[in-house]
Symmetry: C2
Subunit: 328 residues, 2 copies
Amino acid sequence: MSKTSQQIAEICGVSRGTVDRALNNRPGINPETKEKILQVAEQLGYRPHFLAQSLVKGSTRSIGAVLFDINNRLFPQLVNAIETRASELGYFLYLTLTNKDPEKEKDCLQHLVDRKVDGILLLSVNKGEAFEQFLGKLNVPVVTFGNLVSDGIPFVWVDDRAAIRDAVRHLAAQGYEEIIYLSPPMALAGKTNLYAVEQRYLGFEEAIAETPGLLTDIVLHKGYLEEIDALLRRGDKKKVILCTSDKYALKVLLHLKQKEIRIPQDVGLMGFDNIDTLAYISPALSTIAYSSDDVGTQAVDLLVDRIAGRDVPMRTTIPHRIVQGESI
Amino acid sequence: MSKTSQQIAEICGVSRGTVDRALNNRPGINPETKEKILQVAEQLGYRPHFLAQSLVKGSTRSIGAVLFDINNRLFPQLVNAIETRASELGYFLYLTLTNKDPEKEKDCLQHLVDRKVDGILLLSVNKGEAFEQFLGKLNVPVVTFGNLVSDGIPFVWVDDRAAIRDAVRHLAAQGYEEIIYLSPPMALAGKTNLYAVEQRYLGFEEAIAETPGLLTDIVLHKGYLEEIDALLRRGDKKKVILCTSDKYALKVLLHLKQKEIRIPQDVGLMGFDNIDTLAYISPALSTIAYSSDDVGTQAVDLLVDRIAGRDVPMRTTIPHRIVQGESI
């Protein structure tokens, strides 16, 4: 690129370094200067062969993100945080979706590596030794969130176990005598990486062990609405349904409304995630909140540190808190 | 790739074409055969240099999508439809986000082209002759949706103008005497590509021209909640607020609830898009529905046709319908 970038530098009256910064979308340059450089570059018909150049320079200033899907409202929130932070740091983001298919996930990772991204953010459904080896062979920095893959790969997330323990204690303190624990994704236990939902379940087991009087019902499958109906007809304890995500809590809320079962008078309801959809929901859903912005921002920061060869902590825990709402 | 793929073909007892199909993730192959081929390829340490290969073959079996953001619930729905269809057709999807920044949008397009995608789906904020030339120079098939860029680029969307005309007629038939037309994005008119919202506004003007007795108030800026408060205090006509997207209708709904203004008794409310969040909203929002799945699916189909060099229609209109709800 030397000859043309020298020409651009002379025309614009700036250094080669400044031209380089503008053409590679790196920070630390006055926006007006950048604009001028890009205009001159365009007039000269200058467009560096990006990939050939990246092979030499070893950096494409781009990162990839591998997520499940964007159905659960939580994921778009995360993506926006990731995109915003990556953009601030001068990185371009490629988003790819796995639909929770382990093979598709490996395809996504390989595609991103083939396209020379500098690093990858991963919400994985894969786990285990073979997958860790697969990741190692990719030879690109990876930061995970949501589901832990390995203690040797940086991981950013909430402390799911402590969060559910706090929720159970909170519900017991509110006078609930029976907790219906709802976590349909657990039906896939053993088949896929379910770290987050498994941690929540462990937290639930720990909490009930320390609260002997509490009755519990555990619903871990897709036919949960029918089972909830049956459980609500049984006994006269003060009941609450604790859902491991707001997504399911909203489905239950809709179902109970249709059945004219009142929340919280007839049964309490609690979710997890504090997704922004809750602003429009009545009664206001009690839930566990944490900052999805912080998850996304810190994951990008860790990845950029890793790309720069800096040491980073293997665990970053995002704080959580109980949101009381009107549903318990 | 010839030598190794020949070797894989011999070991697996299949044709070179079948090996090619498996390694390039193309349809028309038995899943078991594909699995076997991929295993043998891995054992042989075979990994085609994807980009070098793509330069020769002229195809990477990947497409890019350029969208605003994924805040409005409509966009995740579209992305899921696009991803599903692309996957079915054996294409890998890269999603990029512009945050409605015209320069970022051009960056996204150039990044995707540099990475040799076969085609691009575009929801544009750019418009005008210079941008059309920019797109032309990219030399890659493009299909647009949401905002029209040019009559010469395939465009998939709902007939916004007819949809709003239908909505106004429907509201007049319901006995509404005054319509508050709410479209805050119009504040950016002239600065960015607002084709969809501008078409909706034209449809509104056409509809009120044919309904002489109808009073109208037009609110096209960010301070809309205060203006709605003022408008609702004024006069005694039967009023309805017609919002050009559900996103704004939900903000208005929340605001009215907080003010204890009853919907529809005190004022009617209507949205546009029928986003899936509406399932949880009470009172059920009246809106204009269309299939975001069809938008995504047909956009991908048109793009794949264009990639294959086939002629495609320049306009594809997705049907719309009024959803009555409980809010009017």
